[in-house]
């Protein structure tokens, strides 16, 4: 069984709001539901970010609304999954590198669409993907609950 670690030293969903958890949890102004593809962990700028499991760095890139991104491929319960971190400011590992579980791999930031957010809203966007290059929406993604077993929606969980 793969050892799973939390990505931050202090893990709590941004704003303790279910809008920042996984699924059809977000709304546009007209009330229409929109998917959120992962969890937003509260993380003031430069918060250390850790590998959630031992694995291999699938990619590091800086692009689009996600900004600076890190993706780690790992095995969990007989499946290949991908831990995806976004809006980072710095990544300490390179594509193809092996990482250990709980290894320091990045620092949080406000890259991509997260620029200029209030401190309380600064965050790491975190996804569990079933494909390295997922399709749109919720396709090829699962709730991080699948690997963590619980969601730090109301109380912070230490990493």
């Amino acid at each position: 069984m793969t050892d799973i670690y939390w990505p931050l030293q202090r893990n709590v969903i941004r704003g303790r709001s279910d809008h920042n958890t996984f699924g059809l949890v977000r709304r546009y102004a007209n009330g229409a539901l929109k998917p959120h593809q992962g969890w937003d962990f509260e993380a003031p700028l430069q918060t250390p970010v850790y590998a959630v499991a031992a694995g291999e760095v699938a990619f590091v890139r800086d692009r689009g609304d996600y900004g600076l991104q890190l993706c780690i491929e790992f095995e969990f319960a007989g499946r290949t999954l991908f831990a995806f971190y976004a809006h980072l400011s710095k990544v300490h590992v390179s594509e193809g590198a092996r990482v250990s579980g709980n290894e320091l791999v990045a620092a949080s930031g406000e890259s991509g669409n997260a620029a200029g957010m209030a401190v309380a809203d600064q965050h790491v966007h975190f996804e569990i993907r079933t494909a390295k290059q997922p399709r749109l929406g919720l396709l090829d993604r699962v709730s991080p609950l699948t690997v963590f077993g619980k969601c730090p929606l109301h109380e912070a969980i230490p990493g």
Binding site: A29, N30, Q37, D65, Y66, G112, A114, H125, L138
Partner: protein, 234 residues
């Protein structure tokens, strides 16, 4: 010629007649109360308008105005600032999120001259693309992209000098970039024909399904009639 063929020809003539009448009406319409979005003197009619850059307004202060979490303050004119904020007094369920705000003057005498009737919901970024329609109208059109990890939609504003800005319409069509819903704004072409602002795109767009996956692609266009304040998708 078959009956069907004759019907087809008749339909074409009927369309041409309607377009002709519309064209004459546009040319001869009296001056409209709202500033007319006509092409500038140096521009040919229906020429493509290129976006402009507005300088940042770093001295903008949100606190005296009761605004929250403002970002991206831009110097809209010499004495007006364009900014995107939460407006707690307006925020209600189903009417919340970052909204376009126009502020006149500077602290301590600054005042909000316009705050959009709806915000961007749970989106946490608001990126404007500003088109200046030039003389004689001096009006501007702003395509405001709301997004989070991916694009949420585009509000379209029409702002004429000395008139209340208007939320002209909403573009809820998308393109795809790197496996994410992306804004169609970088692919938009904006032209002016008479009173109408026409927005087209250099590619087909789609609406996402409920789970965010892509629906069927279509060529979509929008028009805003500044005189009638009428927004239309076609």
């Amino acid at each position: 010629m078959t009956t069907q063929g004759r019907k087809g020809v008749a339909a074409v003539w009927a369309r041409l007649l309607v377009f002709g009448i519309a064209a004459v009406a546009l040319r001869t319409s009296p001056a409209i109360a709202e500033a007319q979005p006509q092409a500038s003197a140096g521009q040919a009619s229906a020429s493509r308008i290129v976006p402009i850059s507005l300088p940042p307004a770093p001295a903008f202060d949100e606190k005296p105005l009761g605004l929250k979490d403002c970002r991206g303050a831009l110097q809209y004119t010499q004495n007006k600032v364009l900014v995107f904020c939460h407006a707690p007094r307006q925020d209600r369920r189903g009417n919340f999120g970052l909204r376009l705000v126009l502020v006149q003057g500077s602290a301590p005498g600054a005042r909000i001259v316009y705050s959009a009737p709806t915000g961007g919901g749970d989106a946490y970024s608001a990126k404007p693309t500003v088109f200046d329609l030039g003389t004689p109208s001096q009006a501007r059109v702003i395509l405001l992209d709301h997004g989070a990890e991916f694009h949420y939609g585009t509000q379209v504003f029409f702002i004429a000098p000395d008139a209340t800005p208007r939320l002209a319409g909403q573009i809820d069509w998308f393109t795809e970039d790197d496996g994410q819903l992306a804004s169609p704004t970088p692919h938009a072409t904006l032209t002016v024909a008479g009173n109408k602002i026409l927005i087209g795109f250099d590619r087909k767009l789609f609406k996402p399904r409920r789970d965010g996956s892509a629906g069927p692609e279509r060529s979509v266009h929008f028009s805003y009639d500044a005189a009638k304040r009428h927004w239309r998708q076609f």
